[in-house]
């Protein structure tokens, strides 16, 4: 940590979520050692400033934002501290990104057991949001693969937690509100190849979607891209690990995403082109093209590198800017298997009634998660992307309330990492009041002075009595 005073204006940075709708200025610190973290906690307490934990800022909303706070970023704590190439158990500083971890481990034949749609999150943030992937229904969330965590509490003490400790499950999915997670040990998955066998199928309605997921329960991964303009229609993808040994495909160079799209367009500039397509006719056309392309090649199986399958969001850097001057807002919620077939069409009916189609929709299969603050259940989730203006009265927010209510009426659960606007009441019902209160009790025990805080925590009532 530099010698500058904690509240020096040179530390000020505007922190925002991925949606860029919740900015706030913080005094950003970048410690390099655990002792420095404890020092920052003490100095922040003396300056009467709350601390917000900041990873790579990939949460959509205000999970790592708190105006006028001291932010702790572990961007300079990202080294691998221990690696067992036989068991796949890795210990990393919590600032390491998912991308850095797979690049390190893949040559030895290991892959992250759970990944998000982008490899950019830091592992600490990924555990704070308890991320899930396209294998959630059998692999669970990232927290279920963690064997030990080190966390610095509000008093500056360094503590180790294992899954046997009930408080471990409040750090997992606890959005950085319990303490500073600075080291993670997790077990990676052995792989013999860096490729997946991906089968794509065009499906024409909701029944076919649910049938496809049920039929694919033995697959390693499954996801469906739903056409927001023709709900139910979409492209279902299932994927299997390649069982044979393909050592060349384990090299990071093999996995690097191409720099150019179709060999021509520089990837870094693609959002400028996409910008001209982010209107309704353009998005409608794109969704239809994706569907018909898959329909013309029924059941086609293709070999894809892990990165190409898992990290569609990294294919187009800064793609969220394609929505400018509007913003990308995502609503992700899960409902039970029994409720989903009725709820999903109703959501799209609401979108149509308001004349606000989602531009991109992803459907996934889930199992319940075991964190104190759960966001999944035995069922299905939809992640719906909308283009929303910065105007506080954008008509989307009227639709949003109805979408939220539709999920909550069916005991649906919301993913706070994607959220900007849920109220405390919504959040309590989403989580379930007993578990919500259980989290608050653990928070109170670990951090009675509310040292660790966030705009999300305040908004949904996880912090501040």
């Amino acid at each position: 940590m530099s010698a500058a005073p904690l509240l020096d204006s040179s530390r000020l940075r505007t922190l925002d979520g991925f949606s860029q709708m919740t900015p706030g200025a913080s005094y950003v610190t970048e410690p390099t050692r655990a002792e420095e973290i404890a020092e920052i906690i003490h100095r922040a307490a003396r300056a009467r400033r709350p601390i917000v934990m900041r990873g790579n800022g990939r949460s959509y909303g205000d999970a790592s934002v708190l105006p006028e706070s001291v932010a702790i970023s572990l961007a300079r704590m990202r080294e691998v501290r221990n690696w067992n190439a036989h068991t796949g158990e890795i210990t990393v500083a919590a600032g390491a990104s998912l991308g850095e971890i797979w690049r390190f481990a893949l040559p030895d034949g290991f892959w992250l057991p759970v990944v998000s749609g982008t490899m950019r999150p830091q592992i600490g943030g990924a555990i704070g949001a308890n991320i899930h992937g396209k294998n959630n229904w059998h692999a669970g969330t990232i927290g279920e693969h963690v064997t030990s965590l080190r966390i610095i509490d509000a008093t500056g003490q360094d503590r180790t937690l294992t899954p046997a400790d009930p408080d471990f499950w409040a750090v997992v999915g606890g959005y950085g509100l319990i303490g500073v997670l600075h080291e993670v040990t997790l077990r990676l998955r052995p792989v013999s190849s860096g490729n997946l066998l991906v089968t794509s199928r065009a499906l024409s309605d909701w029944d076919a979607q649910f049938d496809a997921f049920e039929a694919a329960s033995g697959a390693d991964y499954a996801v469906s891209w739903i056409d927001g303009f023709r709900p139910g229609r979409g492209v279902f993808q299932s994927a299997q690990y390649v069982p044979s040994a393909e050592p060349a495909s384990l090299r990071p160079e093999y996995q690097e995403l191409p720099d150019r799209i179709l060999g021509v367009l520089p990837k870094a500039k693609a959002w400028r082109v996409l910008r001209h397509l982010t209107h309704r006719p353009g998005m409608r056309l794109g969704a239809a093209a994706k569907y018909h392309a898959a329909r013309l090649r029924p059941g086609e199986t293709a070999m894809m590198p892990f990165t190409a399958f898992h990290f569609p969001l990294d294919y187009l850097p800064d793609w969220e800017r394609a929505y400018a001057p509007r913003r990308l807002v995502q609503v992700q919620a899960a409902v039970s298997r029994t409720a989903a077939p009725a709820v999903f069409p109703r959501l799209f009916d609401l979108c149509r009634a308001h004349g606000i189609p989602p531009y991109l929709v992803v459907m996934k299969r889930h199992r319940p998660d075991v964190a104190v603050l759960p966001y999944l259940c035995d069922g299905y989730s939809l992640a719906m992307d909308f283009a929303v203006s910065l105007a506080p009265e954008d008509p989307f927010w009227t639709l949003y309330r109805k979408l939220v209510q539709t999920f909550l009426d069916q005991e649906g659960r919301f993913y706070f990492a994607k959220d900007l606007r849920l109220t405390s009441d919504d959040a309590r019902h989403s989580v379930g009041i007993p578990r919500f209160e259980a989290f608050r009790a653990i928070k109170q025990r670990w951090d009675p002075e509310q040292v660790f805080d966030s705009a999300l925590g305040r908004r949904i009532g996880l912090t501040m009595a």
Partner: protein
């Protein structure tokens, strides 16, 4: 109610005149406002009217160390800072043959040095963040050195030059800096002048708000823009022969 574009506003010199009216209008529009003034009783009315939105900061702008030390506390209370407006100004009565260094020092301290101290602190923050809006209230009186108010003119001219320099430093860094040059406005400061065509203060504040977030120098009426454009162009050897006060 649609929240104001500037959700967090700092008004320095908010106990009367343009500053008070700007603070009132921003609070009315839904902003959180930190109102800085020496006279606490004057701030009380604002705070009573908008208890959730107005933070009273009692400080003398002549305390040049105050802004650097306390700006971070103020932004914490506000929850952020998007706009800072320096309005503090004094114009003591100066006789046509009077040379009074005490009065002059007061004008330099309040109209200029205080503005530099406050806006330096704000500029440092906005520069680090790459965003924010700064507004300084200059005056048409700063456009020429005239017989009646040598140091009032000079203090406003100095402030305008400082603001121009801020603009040149910060405009490429995402920070907007505006200089406002009001003509006569009906306030306490001008009450003794019996101005017949003074602009009502609420109108002046509305026009200033339209310029907040813009970059440049602005008069509050097209007539002033033309008139003072001409006055500025008059060569000094002619200007001193004109029968202007």
């Amino acid at each position: 109610m649609v929240p104001e574009r500037f959700a967090h506003v700092l008004i320095i010199g908010a106990s009367s005149g343009i500053g008070y009216e700007l603070a009132r209008q921003y609070a009315e529009a839904g902003s959180r406002v930190a109102a800085v003034a020496r006279r606490e009783d004057r701030l009380q009315a604002l705070r009573d009217q908008y208890p959730d939105r107005v933070i009273a900061v009692v400080a003398d702008v002549k305390d040049l160390a105050f802004p650097k030390t306390h700006l971070a506390d103020i932004t914490q209370l506000l929850g952020g800072l998007d706009l800072a407006v320096y309005c503090a100004g004094v114009m003591p009565e100066v006789g046509p043959t009077e040379f009074n260094s005490e009065k002059d020092a007061e004008m330099i301290a309040v109209n200029f040095a205080g503005g530099v101290a406050w806006l330096n602190a704000v500029a440092e923050r906005f520069q680090a963040l790459g965003s924010g809006a700064i507004v300084g209230i200059g005056s048409v009186a700063g456009d020429r050195g005239r017989r009646g108010q040598p140091v009032y003119n000079a203090s406003k001219a100095a402030f305008a030059t400082y603001l121009e320099a801020l603009r040149n430093r910060l405009s490429s860094k995402g920070v907007a800096v505006a200089t406002i040059k009001p003509g006569p406005v009906a306030t306490e400061m001008t009450a003794r002048l019996n101005l017949s065509r003074a602009m009502p203060v609420d109108v002046a504040a509305q026009r200033i708000r339209q310029r907040c977030g813009q970059t440049g120098e602005f008069y509050l009426s097209p007539v002033h823009r033309v008139l003072f454009g001409i006055l500025r162009a008059i060569p000094s050897f002619i200007f001193r022969r004109l029968p202007l006060p």
